[in-house]
């Protein structure tokens, strides 16, 4: 049975209001019923296989509570499709600066809708992360229901806010093991009217990453710095994006172009063609066509990235100037290299996540980088303080999400 079948055949709760979410979780807690939280279901197979008795489908909690363009803020219910938010913001020439990736096709179901709750719970950012931050930097407020069925809020709607603990940052990236998010308040920004991408072909990985590191130290507001490399059939490509008002983008492109010209020939693409390039890179479209291959996601100091990729092999997409790397390989290879990767990442101060793989492989290899004992125990204590019986997404984060229930 595939994972998506498991989701379809389990009992399913689809609350339509906050009260119903509270009731569903409260009853599940009382009955010891473990819940897998899903929005659009696109990231069901991201993370450890969840050991659940039922599905908590959040897609019924959809809609925009408020959007105030002049305040640069939007509050949306967790089950709202990301595409809906994108469209609403685009009407006012604004956007989510962290550039949420759309992984539906990558994870095998192009028709599914990823939701805001899912993007925030997994803290996934696109190429602009290097300039504009990740969801963790954009989430101003959260509302959620913990494993006891209690609804709570944290943060607020203003950018400047240090009142109490930063619950929005704790909830962002917690993969649903602490609470079911019911709404998030996000900082939005003006969408840049123009963009230009500089492309250089044929550079080796180490040289390309070094070049990106050099240029990211230049005051040019580079909004994306990537390299398509590793072992690949086509020519490697190094790409830099500049965004902003016309005058500024043209001036900065000339400035960087001059520096790049010394290295190699530079090709420039603008606007729709540029957007298309980064959309494909962001969504890992080149890996979507090959659904059986496994994909590792590495996060590490960029200067170490090429060395690690070279040692492991596989087709690689380096983003964030090399600090985030996706490597594609066959399932057998993914398993074979797991231990070596984990060791190298631990030495480099980074982490290796088995980002896409069959459930069996994720179960036996483990998805996330193992944590030192003290940190693992701290995480477990934090989880218990939100979900004492471990009924929310048990197993999603491996050991950190395994309740005693």
């Amino acid at each position: 049975m595939t994972n998506s079948q498991a989701v379809r055949t389990s009992p399913r709760f689809r609350p339509g209001s906050l009260d119903e979410v509270m009731q569903t979780i409260s009853e599940a807690n009382a009955a010891g019923r473990r819940l897998e939280i899903v929005g659009g279901g696109t990231k069901h197979s991201l993370g450890g296989p969840v050991l659940a008795d039922a599905v908590l489908d959040m897609s019924g909690l959809a809609g925009i509570d408020f959007y105030e363009p002049e305040e640069l803020v939007i509050k949306v219910r967790a089950g709202t499709p990301v595409s809906t938010v994108r469209d609403v913001l685009a009407e006012k020439r604004q956007h989510l600066a962290f550039e949420p990736p759309a992984y539906a096709a990558f994870f095998g179901d192009a028709s599914a809708n990823d939701t805001i709750g899912g993007i925030v719970a997994c803290n996934l950012a696109g190429p602009r992360r290097i300039l504009a931050g990740a969801p963790r930097d954009a989430v101003l407020g959260v509302e959620g229901v913990n494993g006891r069925g209690e609804s709570f809020k944290g943060g607020g709607r203003t950018v400047k806010n240090v009142t109490g603990y930063d619950m929005p940052k704790l909830m962002t990236g917690s993969f649903g093991i602490l609470a079911a998010l019911t709404s998030v308040t996000l900082k939005v920004l003006p969408a840049p009217p123009r963009e230009i991408t500089l492309l250089v072909a044929g550079l080796g990985d180490a040289r390309a990453i070094e070049l990106l590191a050099d240029l990211l130290n230049v005051p040019a507001d580079i909004s994306a710095a990537a390299h398509l490399g590793g072992s690949r059939a086509d020519l490697p490509t190094t790409a830099l994006r500049l965004e902003g008002i016309q005058e500024s983008v043209v001036a900065r492109a000339a400035q960087l172009g001059n520096r790049l010209q010394r290295v190699s020939d530079v090709r420039t693409v603008a606007d729709e063609e540029s957007r298309d390039f980064w959309r494909k890179l962001r969504d890992l479209s080149s890996f979507a066509a090959d659904p059986d291959a496994c994909v590792w996601r590495l996060m590490l100091p960029g200067t170490q990235a090429a060395r690690v990729v070279n040692a492991i092999g596989g087709e690689a997409v380096y983003d964030w100037g090399g600090s985030e790397v996706f490597i594609r390989m066959e399932a057998g290879k993914a398993e074979e290299h797991a231990q070596a990767l984990r060791t190298m990442m631990s030495e480099a101060g980074g982490s290796a996540c088995l980002f896409r793989a069959p459930a069996e492989l994720r179960r036996c290899v483990g998805v996330f980088q193992p944590r030192p004992k003290a940190l693992q125990e701290l995480g477990e204590r934090v989880r218990q303080m939100f979900d004492p019986n471990g009924i929310l997404n048990p197993g999603k984060l491996g050991a950190a999400g395994n309740g005693e229930a």
Partner: protein, 497 residues
Amino acid sequence: MKMPAIDQAIVGRRAAIAEQLRRIVGREWVLDSETERRTYECDGLTAYTALPLLVVLPENTEQVRRVLQYCHEERIKVVPRGSGTSLSGGALPLEDGILLGTARMNRILEVDAPNRIARVEPGVQNVRVTEAVKHLGLCYMPDPSSQAISTIGGNVAENSGGVHCLKYGVTSNHVVGLEAVLPSGDVVHLGGDFVGGADREFDLTGTVIGSEGLLAIITEITVRLVPQPLTARILSLGFRNVEDASKCVGAIIGRGIIPAGLEFIDRKVIDAVSSMLGEVHSREVEAILLCELDGSKIEVDTLVAEVEAIAKANGLAETRISKTEEERAQIWQGRKLAFGAMGKIARDIYVTDGTIPRGKLPEILRRIESLSKTHGLDYANCFHAGDGNLHPMVLFDTAKPGDLERAEAFGADILKACVELGGVLTGEHGVGVEKRDLMKYQFSDIDLIQQQRLKCAFDPEELLNPGKMFPMPCRCVEFGRTRIGSGKTRFPEIPRF
């Protein structure tokens, strides 16, 4: 301000405790005489004082670990302190707790330009980081106005802001990794030494930032460095009334322009500063907006023209625009002197720190005016308009009986009004002891209890900075109990301090 009851047994053991701690950090780094301890009796919120049990100054992570382990075994409370510039009493000592100062942990451990990070100890002053990387064309962006004195460790504990956070974000957007010691003595590494280091699954870096010393002692910080912007220019825009100035703020941002800084100064501050600088402003100007734009030269010049046009359409009465770095520094001078200048006019100033949605600026200014009459105290306004972070200065005189209490009541009413208007109690100064008892105006009981449960996961014995941030003590023992089969938890009698 009611603080947790003092454990006299601990106070009575002062000499013995000092002796044990000296074995860890060295004889001269435990201060026990009253005169030495007196230096540390308060932070930037000088209305509250307490003599710490002892002042302990460790040199490195290992010493911090051993101090915490000892305090954990002996159940001794610990209050961390950087430079003591907190404006909310975050570093207010406890008479039965040690004050753990980070002053000796002041090394910049690593600057890694290719990965755009610097790794520093908590006692490094904010401004030293930028100084250390200037030659590389890089900088550390968060710039709280205390930056010459305040430490990175303190900035992390308070999640400090500054004038440039409208465009560049606050401390938590610039810290990618932390080393911290838990009250148990366990050392944990959170995040990583690269941009995106704190983006990983279930990362607790962002949780520790802004936790006001209640969760862990931070012993190392990895900050993100960014290229120093090529150019910056500032516009000083004078308006005939605060409404016009407020509208202009919304209009600039509504047009898709995010200035590097956008500050508001009212007439009282203008007069105080002008008398110090010998500047002359038109009589009809009631409020000034300072708008700084940075980036490439062509971008800055384009935006300066655009902002000026927007201001003209919103009732602009007076303009100064910097053309050189000296002119820019000169215009900023007025803002930087604001608090000092008011100090020359009033005997005492009480600065508070609420945040509101930008659009509510005219409304909050009206309410402050009316509260000023109710409380019978004058005030002045100077604040970060771009992000709606207010710093109303209540003017009073401690020599007059009852004035301090009235000033505090005025300040509290302003913060309550901020919450009513959709804002928050504190934008950058922290809750500390100052706003502790106001937390219930912003959060429900369950919101606060969930935050306290988080505290219990880090510090189940409640030894780190107790009496701060929450209006009631934690109930870690109760929270820790696992319950199956219960319905909603109820909170009948929540004890308050």
